[in-house]
């Protein structure tokens, strides 16, 4: 599914904002996720506890470049992450605006070119723009991660038609909806449209019970995927009786 790695779960889980390391670990377990995202920061008080979690969870790590606003910052962060985490995977974020946290597509493509050339396997956080997607593929990305809505907003799929178009345009390229998902129904909606996976963090971490919410997301994503594979019926404008008219009694 991603750079030659096959996975059972289509949920990728962020590790930030949980009430405690123990709750984070429970949520990872309950979600069934096989990929978790991590970051690099100046060492804080909880640093050692977090490193223990990384070794306890058997998940594959996807380091991010969160907080980077220029291609140069993102490239440096990616190089640092590859050394510390021992993986060439990088979730490439280059933020264009502090309020919307919208990706800067120009700097994103620039950073993706540099990193792909250095052998990184890049997961770019992008918009649903088709041309930006094409430039990212040209740069060497083999996955695209369009946003659902602004990071942490929980708005769900702001532009479902745009994502549907993206799905059709990039047939065969793994597409991950990254950011903005607030409820399992929104994740299921994306999966029913044929998107390949969901990356989320806040919706689980900020739930009243993160572990139960993580399980709910895992199930919704699985259900949405099965619905896509089964083929969702086409929508109709008019009613169409499901019970046969043939054999109907005359009782009037």
């Amino acid at each position: 599914m991603f750079y030659g790695v096959d996975l059972t779960s289509r949920l990728m889980l962020g590790t930030a904002q949980y009430p405690s390391p123990a709750v984070l670990l429970e949520a990872i377990e309950a979600s069934g996720a096989e990929i978790i995202t991590v970051s690099l920061r100046r060492e804080g008080a909880a640093g050692a506890a977090f490193r223990n979690i990384l070794s306890e969870s058997r998940c594959r790590l996807l380091p991010n470049t969160a907080g980077c606003h220029t291609a140069r910052e993102a490239v440096t962060t990616a190089r640092m992450a590859r050394e510390v985490f021992g993986t060439s995977w990088i979730k490439l974020e280059v933020i264009g605006h502090a309020d919307t946290l919208q990706p800067d597509p120009f700097a994103l493509v620039e950073a993706a070119r540099v990193l792909c050339a250095e052998g990184f396997e890049v997961f770019p956080y992008t918009t649903e723009d088709l041309i930006v997607g094409e430039k990212l593929l040209e740069a060497g990305c083999k996955v695209l991660m369009p946003w659902g809505a602004p990071i942490g907003s929980g708005q769900g799929l702001r532009n479902p038609e745009g994502l549907r178009t993206m799905r059709a345009h990039f047939a065969g390229i793994p597409l991950v909806v990254d950011a903005g998902i607030g409820a399992p129904s929104q994740a299921a909606q994306a999966m029913e449209m044929g998107l390949d996976a969901i990356l989320l963090n806040t919706a689980v971490a900020k739930a009243v019970d993160p572990a139960v919410m993580a399980r709910a997301f895992g199930r919704a994503i699985q259900a949405g995927r099965e619905a896509f594979e089964a083929g969702v019926m086409p929508r109709r404008d008019m009613a169409c009786a499901s019970t046969p008219v043939f054999g109907l009694a005359e009782l009037a």
Binding site: G14, T15, L40, R42, M80, E83, V84
Partner: protein, 65 residues
């Protein structure tokens, strides 16, 4: 000399990046380093000499989304 380490100006006796990590008590295998915005690989820390006013970042694995 004075350098900027993770956003704070400190005085150091260290001559190289590798010495600085030891002096400041970092677990060298668990951190990644950058100097003036450029990545410095683990294997280059010994050979990386420090100068007055350099900006050093020493980063560790943390939670992320």
């Amino acid at each position: 000399m004075r350098i900027d380490l993770n956003g704070e100006v400190i005085k150091t006796q260290a001559r190289t990046l590798a010495d600085l990590l030891i002096e400041q008590g970092f677990e060298a295998p668990c951190v990644a380093t950058a100097l003036n915005g450029d990545f410095i690989a683990r294997s280059m820390r010994d050979a990386t000499r420090l100068d007055e006013g350099m900006k050093i970042e020493v980063l560790s694995p943390m939670q992320g989304g």
